[in-house]
């Protein structure tokens, strides 16, 4: 851990990382169970499937899923990006890139649901790709939290540098 000011937040951050993994895992399970995990399954889920007596999704049904996700996903991403960026676990450009990728995948995933339903079934692979990308970025952020906050064997020798480093960061 580079910054000694972060030490008190080790347990909260690691608990948050664990819940992030649970969220990603439960989202993957739901995607597989409800949407089939493939473009064909996504098409059947949103456009209906006569063989299974499934109706196309209504606008109300799409909004019921989209609205909570439009609030919850950015909130989770904001929190984890904020903590990882504060800890300077990544170079600034890489952190900005990963954040943009995460928010972009989340937005594309929500938009693709409406796209498949109202624009065309050709957008089903976009929904699968956006979901997969969001899952990967969530796991990447959880891993970064782990990298920052898990106790490292080499932490003690590095501790000598931390006071000066922290002073520099405050001065910035």
């Amino acid at each position: 851990m580079r910054d000694p000011r972060l030490a008190p937040f080790r347990v909260p951050a690691l608990a948050f990382a664990a819940f992030l993994v649970v969220q990603a895992a439960s989202a993957a399970a739901l995607f597989a169970l409800k949407l089939g995990g493939s473009p064909a399954g996504v098409r059947a889920f949103y456009l209906g499937d006569a063989a299974r007596f499934a109706a196309p999704k209504s606008l109300a049904g799409l909004l019921e899923v989209a609205v909570p996700h439009l609030a919850a996903i950015p909130l989770v991403l904001f929190a984890v990006v904020h903590v990882v960026s504060f800890a300077r676990a990544l170079p600034a450009r890489a952190a900005r890139g990963l954040a943009a990728l995460s928010f972009g995948a989340a937005l594309a995933g929500v938009a693709a649901s409406f796209g498949v339903r109202y624009l065309g079934p050709a957008l089903a692979p976009v929904k699968v790709a956006a979901f997969g990308l969001l899952e990967l970025t969530l796991l990447a952020w959880a891993a970064l939290l782990g990298a920052v906050f898990l106790p490292a064997r080499a932490e003690e020798p590095a501790r000598a540098d931390t006071a000066a480093g922290a002073a520099e960061e405050i001065a910035e």
């Binding site: 000011r5 972060l6 008190p8 937040f9 347990v11 909260p12 951050a13 608990a15 948050f16 664990a18 819940f19 992030l20 649970v22 969220q23 439960s26 989202a27 399970a29 739901l30 169970l33 409800k34 919850a72 909130l75 989770v76 929190a79 904020h82 903590v83 504060f86």
Partner: protein
């Protein structure tokens, strides 16, 4: 994060929003408890009936179980993260904060996954009742500890 690590200088500015957050966190925990009462409450038999289906009724699907995990992980995860971060900078919780946070973390995780056990095997309704009580009690204990610590710091600052 800066407010938290720059205590106590910036702490006084953070107190009003923290107090409001604690009110909403309390409401969220109360809402979660009310939801649990609708899903069998503190009766192992009613919990089993809710998940496994009562008297020949349909049991909850795997998707419904995962949906409960998905929503619960967000609520528990976010509230626990905020409360634990506030506890981390509360000066009067040195001796108890680690135990409170770890207990809440373990109990909430167990509570999220207990429905799978209830669905898989008969006779495990009491397990879900126990995890619900433990998760609720540990989260409320953490919330009250943070609220009391914040109130004391505010009182000291005014004195």
């Amino acid at each position: 994060m800066r407010w938290l690590v720059q205590q106590p200088a910036a702490g006084s500015r953070a107190r009003p929003p923290v107090a409001l957050f604690l009110v909403f966190a309390a409401l969220a925990l109360a809402g979660l408890a009310a939801q649990r009462l609708q899903a069998g409450g503190l009766s192992p038999a009613d919990v089993e009936a809710f998940y496994r289906g009562a008297e020949g009724g349909e049991p909850l699907t795997a998707a419904a179980l995962w949906e409960e995990v998905h929503v619960g992980a967000f609520v528990y995860g976010f509230v626990l993260f905020m409360l634990a971060a506030l506890a981390a900078v509360a000066p009067r919780l040195e001796g108890v904060r680690g135990g409170l946070v770890l207990a809440a973390f373990a109990a909430t995780l167990a509570d999220l996954f207990a429905p799978f056990a209830v669905s898989a095997r008969p006779g495990l309704g009491a397990l879900r009742v126990a995890t619900t009580v433990l998760a609720s009690a540990s989260m409320w204990a953490l919330l009250v500890a943070v609220a009391v610590a914040q109130a004391r710091v505010g009182r000291d600052a005014r004195a």
